[in-house]
Amino acid sequence: MNLRKSIAIAGISALALFGTAACGKDGSPEEKTPEAPASNATGGGAPAAKPTVPTFTVKAGVDLSATSPTWKKAKDRGHLVIGAKEDQPFLGSMDPATKKRSGFDIEMARMISAELGLDPAQIEFKTIASANRETALQKGDVDMYVGTYSITDKRKDSVSFAGPYYVSGQSLLVKKNETAITGKDTIKGKKVCSAKGSTPIQTIKDKFPETTPIEYDTYSLCVDNLLSGQVDAVSTDEAILKGYAAKDPDHLKVVGDNFSVEKYGIGLPKDDAALRAAVNDALDAKEKDGTWKKVYDATLGLSGSPAPTIPAIERY
């Protein structure tokens, strides 16, 4: 009896000791790893010498209340509610500490808001998961969605699109000193990482059978693996890759031509044709007066990749 009792007591005291010690010791170092690159980018910001995002002046005298129910709702409310992403650096990202959003898509949204006569500073951004974008627009949870939203015929059944405002496509992100991988024809026998189940990883599996696909939940894990040399390239939309390259231009670069075409559009409620026309006009005007280019240079342009051709608006 005594032996067992003393074992039990020893066990309990060991448990208490380890329980408290282990938590702090074990938890913190691992958790830091994925966070580190993200906080670097958002915390650091762009040095003064780099191009800065232009300020958007709210256009006066815009009134769509007769034709666009969505615009009227936003005007009554005082601001637009815009769906976006929060995990794509320099494209659609949110600083976890300050809750401030930034990136190319976010600035596009602000630019359009100003052109619609609604103060961009007042915009309420909502993070919407990719799978829920159509539902959010249909239910009116958001007035518009701006976040690497590819225009497809299938999606046009449930929502409408203004734009395209950017043409992207699958590309490759590699380390800055990489010389073997220059494009899609040079990834034979290499390890290429992308998000689990995503269209890019399916393309890699189907069209490049000699390439080893690696799937993680997030692109940031892929990029972390690329930097540490566990994978040879990360593949997804070139705009997303440019965002990561812009975050760490000393170590990363985007290579090769796009090997698919993704036209990014502004997602809008399906039946609001007046709003679609107005957003198209806004994009058209801002692309022509050079604002689009300024936004690009201050965001994705930091990756070192030159601005692509601005796509023509497709009205329908």
């Binding site: 938890g27 799937e215 566990q230």
Partner: protein
């Protein structure tokens, strides 16, 4: 039904992977868990400390973190294995901590007189444990181990985040390809139920078989 037939290859492949994960992780968890339990009741103090340290460290850390550490940390230490092995190490090693505690509580249900009798006829610690105590403890630990292994099957879904194409992981591709989210998850749930309900049945059978008339 269309979701199932359209994606049959993907789902069945995922199902088999989850089944394989279950078998391997279960094996690792049971063997390692029993060894750890033996450590925790052993007369050798350092072994007891090791057992307690392992259980308290691993049991009190989120599984996601362990998986993260194994799948991303090991390669950085130049321990390169395939991702399936990483998943087995993480999920099996995690479950082992719980199995250890279940087995230990089972050991404690065996009256101390049994062990004392064994020792008094000259059996070694190993003999006492393997021939006298563990066989009797087994009866008491079947139900909790059943629960733990079922929890392990569900926990194994975490491997899908780290390049293991298991049943849960198939959802990403199906949703990406425009299948109805609700149906996709329904079929995945059915897949898991097939595995877990079979395990419940197996453990119910074991319990019945090992039961003694009291």
């Amino acid at each position: 039904m269309k979701v199932l037939t359209d994606n049959w290859d993907l789902i069945s492949e995922g199902f088999v992977t989850t089944l394989k994960l279950t078998l391997w992780c279960g094996l690792v968890a049971l063997v390692l868990g029993t060894l750890l339990a033996a450590c925790r009741v052993s007369p050798v103090a350092p072994l007891r400390w090791f057992g307690a340290a392992y259980v308290n460290l691993v049991r009190n850390t989120p599984l996601t973190l362990i998986m993260f550490f194994v799948a991303l940390g090991f390669p950085k230490l130049n321990w390169n294995m395939d991702y399936f092995t990483f998943a087995v190490i993480a999920v099996g090693g995690y479950t082992a901590a719980f199995i250890c505690e279940a087995v230990r509580s089972g050991i404690n249900t065996v009256p101390i007189g049994q062990a004392e009798a064994a020792r008094s006829i000259g059996m070694s610690f190993n003999q006492t444990l393997t021939l006298i105590v563990l066989p009797q403890a087994l009866r008491a630990v079947i139900p909790p181990i059943g629960s733990l292994l079922i929890a392990m099957v569900r926990n194994s879904a975490i491997a899908s985040a780290f390049n293991v194409h298991d049943l849960f992981g198939t959802n990403a591709q199906m949703v990406e390809n425009g299948n109805d989210v609700v149906l996709v998850f329904l079929w995945i749930a059915v897949g898991y139920l097939i595995i877990t309900l079979s395990m419940s049945a197996l453990f119910a059978l074991l319990e019945k078989k090992l039961a003694v008339a009291r």
